[in-house]
Symmetry: C2
Subunit: 467 residues, 2 copies
C-alpha cells in the first residue's frame, strides 16, 4: 500500500501488509510475553517506560523527522515527541494512586471479600492521523502500567513514524515484548478488533460503528473517541482579547486537525463587533507552513479525503449566505500539498454543513446570539458532544454556562485545555463516542478486570439445606 | 400475548403489548420526571426507596402470590421479596460512600479540574425469568440512587408480578414517576435498547448479542450478564461433608435456574467415592414442590423451551456413556408442569453438551480429576466465565486454586456466595458478558457520567500564539 506525502502529494512510502499468519504469530507472542509483564511490579513497569523515554531522546531527531513527513508539520511533531515524558509521569502518578486506593479487600462481619485486579491481556489501540504518535499513547501508556500488552495501529495515512518507534523500543526487550506498533489499513484494524481483549479506538463515527459492532459480538470493552463539533460561547462580559487569542489557537492549532479543536463560535451580539475584528486581526497574522515546513504556523491538511469535505463545507456555507471575511475560499493546492488559511466565516447558521459536520480545518465560523439561553441551545444543537469552551465575565459565570453544555469536558475561559494539559475526557455525549475514564486514576483502572473472591465467615448464614 | 403457568401448563395470563406511541409517551414522561429526580438529594432518594420498601411490606402477600404463579415457586418468591430491604440498605451504603469519595475536584499547581457526576437520564433494565423481581433490582436500585430514571422489562415468561409492583409504587409519586415496570416481549426489549441511555441486560448469549449490537451503534454503555457454566473444584483435602452440602444447595436451589448455579463438579479421585455417596444421599433427601407448591424444595422448570434443552442434554450425556445415578432421566410432566429431581450424573466428559452448554436445571454432573492442574484446565475449558467455587483443605489452599480459575467471582469453601450475600460480580470472562461493577461503590458509579471542567490557573502555560 502506497502512502501519500501531505506536503508533496507524492506517494513516496509503502507499507507492507501483514499476512494473517504473521499477525496471528505477533499477537500470540504479545500474549505470551504479557504473562511475564503482568507479574512485574509497577515500579518495574515505570522503569521500563522511563528507559523507553531515554531511548526516544536518543532517536528524537529521527522520530520528529518521520512524524513531520507523516503529518507535514514540524512544530506539532516536535510537541508530540516532547510531551511523552509528561504523559509517562502523569500516568505513573495515576497508576500509583490507583493501586494505593484499590487495595482490593472488603471485610464485613459476615463476609470476607477480596478483589484481584487482572489486566486485560492484550489491548488494541486503533488510532487516527491527528497527532499520530501522542494520541495512541494516552491509551497505551496506562494500559502498559496496568500490566496489559498493547498493540497500536496508527492510521494508514501516517505510518512512517512506526519504524523509528520500533527502533526506540528495541533496547528495552521487556517493554518491546509487550508493546508494538503495526502499520496497516482498516483491514488490520478490523482484524485487531476481532482478536484483542479490549479496544481503544479514535477516529470517525463510521469506522467507530464498524469496530463497535465487531466487539459487541465478543462482549469485550471498547473505548471509542469519535469526532466532535466543539462549540465555544463568548458572553457580553468576556475578556475579548483573551477569548479571541485562545479561540484562534483552539481552532487553528495543528490546522484544526484534532478532536479538541473549536469548530463553532457563538458570540453575544454586543461583543461581536470587537470580537470579530480581533479574531480577523489575529487570524491574518498567522501564515501557512509553506514553502518550507518551518515557514508558518499552519500545517497542511493531512487527509486528501478531508480536503474534499472542507471544500464542500465552505461551498455549502457561502452558497447559503455565509461570508468568508479572512482566509481561504477553499483548500489551496501548493506544490502537491493542500493548505487552508486561518479562515473566518460569518453569517453562518445551523442549516449549513459547516455548523453540523466535523470539519478538521483551521476555520473560525462565528455566529451571533442574543441571550445565554439561545447560546446554550445553539451549542447543544449538535449530534456531537466531545468538548467545549466558555468565555464569560468570571470563572463562576463561565462555570454556570458550562454546566448546561452537553459534552464531556469544558474549558473555562480558555480553549482545549484537555490537550494542553494532556488530560483526557472521561465521558462523551451523543455521537462522540463511548468512554469511561482516561482521567486520573481511571486511566489505569479501565484496563483492569476485577475478579472477586468471597468467603463466608459466618457459615451459619449459608443457605444450605444440610450442614 | 398469552403466558403459560409453569405449574399447570395453562396459558392463564395475558399481557397487553404497548403501542409504539404509548411506549414513547411513557419514556418521555420518565425522562421529564428525571429532571426533578436528579436534583433531589441522595437522602431524599433513599427516603423514597424506604417508603417503597414499606409499601412492599403492605402488599407482600399479594406480591409473593403473583411471583409464585410466575415462577411456580413459593420459597424463592418469598426470598425475592424479603431480600429487597437488604438490597436497598447495601446500595444505600455504597452510594453514600461513592459520593463521599468522589467529591469530584482535582487541583494542581497549574490546573483546576472539577468533575460533575451526571446520571444517565434513562436506564433500561432488561431482565430474565430467573428470580424475576430480585434480579433487576440489583441494577435498578443503584441506578435510582445515582439519579437515573429506570424502566424494567422482566422476561415475558414472568410478567404477573408487574401489576402488584406497580401498585406498590403508586403511594410514592416521586419514585413512581421515575421507576416503572413494563411487561412485554423481546420486541419491547429491542425498543428499549433503541431508546434508553444505558442498558442492563440479563439473559441468553443470543439475546445479549442482539441487544449489544443495537447499543453498539448508539455508543451507549451496556452491562450484559449472560449465561455461565459454573464449575466447582473439590480437592482431596476438602471437607466432604461441607462440600457436598454446599454443592447440593448451589446446584439445586431455585431448581438450578440462576446464573449462580453450579453446573460442573470436578472432584479429586481420592475424594470421589465419599463425595459421591454424600452427594447422592443428600440429593435423594430433596423433594419436588409437587403436588402442592409447598410440598418440597425443587420448583418446576419455568421455561418450556428450557425443558427441551435439559432433556436433550441428558439424552446426549447418557448416549455418550454418562450414568444417571439419582434423580430424573428426563424432565417429568406432572399436571401440566415440568419438574426435574436433584439429578446426579457421573461418567461425564467434555464431549457432552451437559458439560459445555448452560443447563439451568438441578443437575449435579460429577467428573473425576487426578491433579489440581487437570482440575483447573477442566474448569477453564469453557466458553463461559461467570463464577465458580473451590473446596480445599484450607481457605488459603482454595484461594490459590481460585486465582487460576478464569471467571468473575469465586466462592471459597462455599457455593454461590454472590447470591447469598446479594453481591454482584464486577467483571465476567469470555462469553459470560460484559460488565464493570455492580460491586460496592461501583454499583452506583457505573450509572454516572463524569463531566470535566478545566481551568488553567497559570495562563502563561496556555499555548496561544497571542496574549
Amino acid at each position: 500500500m502506497k502512502i501519500r506525502n501531505p506536503r508533496t502529494g507524492v506517494y513516496d512510502y509503502e507499507i507492507a501488509q501483514l499476512s494473517s499468519e504473521e499477525l496471528t504469530l505477533k499477537l500470540q507472542n504479545l500474549r505470551q510475553a504479557q504473562d511475564l509483564w503482568k507479574t512485574t511490579t509497577l515500579p518495574n513497569r515505570i522503569e521500563a517506560l522511563n528507559a523507553w523515554l531515554a531511548a526516544l531522546q536518543e532517536e528524537k531527531d529521527e522520530l520528529i523527522e518521520a512524524l513531520s513527513i507523516d503529518t507535514g508539520a514540524i512544530r506539532e511533531s516536535t510537541w508530540e515527541v516532547e510531551m511523552v515524558g509528561n504523559l509517562i509521569a502523569q500516568f505513573r502518578d495515576n497508576a500509583t494512586r490507583f493501586f494505593e486506593i484499590n487495595q482490593g479487600s472488603y471485610i464485613s462481619d459476615t463476609l470476607d471479600v477480596t478483589h484481584q485486579f487482572e489486566p486485560y491481556p492484550l489491548v488494541g489501540v486503533i488510532s487516527a492521523w491527528r497527532l499520530p504518535f501522542f494520541s495512541p499513547l494516552i491509551d497505551a501508556i496506562p494500559a502498559l502500567l496496568a500490566g496489559c500488552a498493547v498493540v497500536v495501529k496508527p492510521s494508514e495515512l501516517t505510518p512512517r513514524f512506526v519504524e523509528v518507534v520500533t527502533k526506540t523500543l528495541a533496547p528495552i526487550p521487556l517493554l518491546a515484548s509487550v508493546f508494538t506498533f503495526l502499520a496497516g489499513d482498516k483491514h488490520l484494524g478490523q482484524q485487531l478488533s476481532e482478536s484483542v481483549d479490549l479496544v481503544c479506538f479514535k477516529g470517525s463515527q463510521e469506522n467507530g460503528k464498524r469496530i463497535s459492532e465487531t466487539v459487541s459480538q465478543r462482549f469485550i470493552p471498547a473505548f471509542l473517541q469519535l469526532q466532535g463539533k466543539n462549540a465555544v460561547i463568548v458572553t457580553e462580559q468576556a475578556d475579548i482579547e483573551r477569548a479571541s487569542s485562545a479561540i484562534v489557537w483552539g481552532s487553528v492549532f495543528n490546522a484544526g486537525q484534532t478532536h479538541h479543536a473549536i469548530e463553532r463560535i457563538y458570540v453575544h451580539r454586543n461583543a461581536y463587533p470587537l470580537f470579530l475584528s480581533r479574531l480577523v486581526g489575529k487570524a491574518n497574522l498567522l501564515n501557512l507552513a509553506f514553502p518550507t515546513i518551518n515557514s508558518g504556523e499552519i500545517a497542511p491538511i493531512i487527509s486528501e479525503k478531508q480536503v474534499a469535505i472542507i471544500d464542500e463545507q465552505l461551498r455549502d456555507a457561502t452558497s447559503k449566505g455565509g461570508t468568508i471575511i479572512a482566509g481561504s475560499q477553499a483548500c489551496e493546492l501548493k506544490q502537491g500539498g493542500y493548505y487552508c488559511q486561518a479562515t473566518v466565516l460569518t453569517n453562518v447558521n445551523h442549516q449549513m454543513k459547516i455548523m453540523k459536520e466535523p470539519t478538521f480545518a483551521p476555520i473560525l465560523a462565528v455566529m451571533v446570539f442574543q441571550t445565554i439561553e439561545e447560546a446554550i441551545t445553539l451549542a447543544n444543537d449538535s449530534l456531537f458532544g466531545l468538548e467545549g469552551a466558555v468565555f464569560a465575565g468570571s470563572d463562576e459565570e463561565a462555570m454556570e454556562i458550562a454546566q448546561k453544555m452537553n459534552c464531556g469536558a469544558v474549558s473555562i475561559n480558555d480553549t482545549a485545555l484537555t490537550v494542553i494539559t494532556q488530560r483526557g475526557i472521561n465521558n462523551f455525549s451523543k455521537q462522540s463516542g463511548l468512554g469511561t475514564g482516561n482521567f486520573e486514576e481511571n486511566s489505569v483502572g479501565r484496563f483492569l478486570k476485577q475478579k472477586t473472591y468471597l468467603r463466608n465467615k459466618n457459615t451459619e448464614k449459608s443457605s444450605w439445606w444440610f450442614r
